[in-house]
Structures are given as C-alpha cells and as structure tokens.
Amino acid sequence: MEITAIYYIVPALVMFCCGVYGFITRKNMIAMLISLELMLNAVDINFVVFNRYLYPEQMEGMFFTLFAIAIAAAETALAIAIIINIFRAAKNIDVRSLNEMKF
C-alpha cells in the first residue's frame, strides 16, 4: 500500500469540518477558540502535505506553516486576555449573554 497525498488530506478535512461544527454550536468563548485552533491546524497540515508531495525541493509550505503557528500563538494569547477581561466584567463567558459592548 502506498500512502499518497489524499491519505493525509482527508483526516485534515475531517478536522476542519469538526472545527466548523464546533465554532457554530459552542457557546463558551474558550470552546469556540478551541474549534478555531482545530481549523487552523487542519490548514497547516494541508500546507505541509502539498509542499512535501508536489514541490519537495522547496520549503514554502513549511515556512508558511511556521509563520502560521507563530501568528496562531499571538492570536490565542490576545484572545484569552480579552476573554479574561470579559469574565472580570460580566462574570461569565457565554456568547449569548454578551450582547452589550459596554458594561
């Protein structure tokens, strides 16, 4: 059996769809952020797989993933700072009850 590109793309696709499902159904802000991380990670895997299978002499996909990981870390840190700030002001982080911009 030969492991071709599709063997890596299909699990990444399922992971992305899980992220979409979670982002729509979850109401807790941290759970939504976890779903977002799943989607980002699925896209990272796709970059690496296409780089490895189609253009193995270049490193573009690898560096794109490297920068995507750095930006995801920055985004998560900032989002969690905002979530903790909201929790301090509103005492919960349920998106349905956060319908005012100013408390």
Partner: protein, 171 residues
C-alpha cells in the same frame, strides 16, 4: 512502497486525529475539550515528523502543545469551575452546525475528487531540510529568504505581548 511499520503508524495517527477532533467539539466538559485538542495537536506533530519536516514537528510540539494548550488550561480554570458541564445543545443549533460542516465536507470533497491526480501523487524522495538550510532561508534576504516576514512576526509578537498585558491588567 512503504514499510509495514509506517503504514501502522499512519493508521494510528489518522484515526487518533479524526477521533480526538470529533471528541474535542462534542464533549460537554471544557477541560476535556482542551485535552482532546492537545492529542489532536500531537497527532499533527507526528504527521510533520512522518513527512520529514522535523523542525516543524518540534515547533508544533513546543509552541502549540506546550504553549497554547497550557494557556487554554489556565484560562479554563480561571473562568469556570472544574466539573461543570456545558448546557445541552438545542436541536436547532446542532442542526445548523452539522449542516455547515457537511456542506464544507461535500464542497471540499468534490474539489478533491475533481483534482484526483494531485491527490494521488506519490511521495517523492526528499532530503530532510537540515538546520543550516532552514536557518539560512529564515534569515536570508535573497531569493527564497524569509527575513521580512520573520521581522514582521517578531514585531507582531511584541505588539501581542504589550496588548495582552494592557488588556488583561486590573484597572
């Protein structure tokens, strides 16, 4: 033709990736969702190692699994009591989410099937990129160099540190 060991490893990784990502979005305990996310990220790191990008796999484990998940766990423990469940989903929101996920799956699956020659490409021979070539590409300013995005990311991380401190600080 792959060796038997790598095929077995592939099936373990692919199965754990699918199962844990499904569990991460369906479990009702938020701390467990973060743990399942950690397992999914480890599976992705193993995929990077299997595709010979060892530096990338190490970065994935160090930054994602070591940094981001710890941040998630701290935020979860700060904002919710351990052990309380999230509310049961209403059938409307569950239907909406499942509909969006299935539509995404169908569209992307159709795109995959229509480009089947790309999807069935076999794995070409590649030398593992060693640290010297990675470092020269990361700090090179010529062809194939990434000095400008590298500096942009460093400024972004600095802005993120300052922003995080300013936003989360007690007033």
């Amino acid at each position: 033709m792959e060796s038997v060991g790598s095929i077995i490893l592939y099936f373990i990784v692919a199965l754990s990736m699918i199962v844990f990502s499904v569990m991460a979005v369906t479990t009702r305990k938020i701390l467990r969702a973060a743990t399942y996310l950690l397992f999914t990220l480890f599976a992705a790191a193993v995929v990077y190692f299997m595709l010979d990008y060892e530096f990338l796999g190490a970065v994935q484990i160090a930054v994602y699994a070591g940094g981001i998940v710890v941040l998630f766990v701290f935020a979860i423990l700060l904002t919710s009591k351990p052990g309380d469940n999230t509310e049961r989903l209403t059938s409307k929101s569950r239907f909406l989410g499942a509909f969006a996920a299935v539509v995404t799956l169908l569209i992307a699956g159709y795109a995959l099937v229509s480009r089947v020659s790309v999807a069935l490409a076999t794995k070409p021979v590649m030398e593992t990129p060693d640290m010297q070539s990675v470092g020269e590409a990361l700090l090179g300013s010529g062809h194939g160099g990434y000095l400008l995005p590298f500096e942009a990311v460093s400024v972004l991380l600095l802005a993120c540190i300052i922003g995080g401190v300013v936003v989360a600080r007690k007033r």
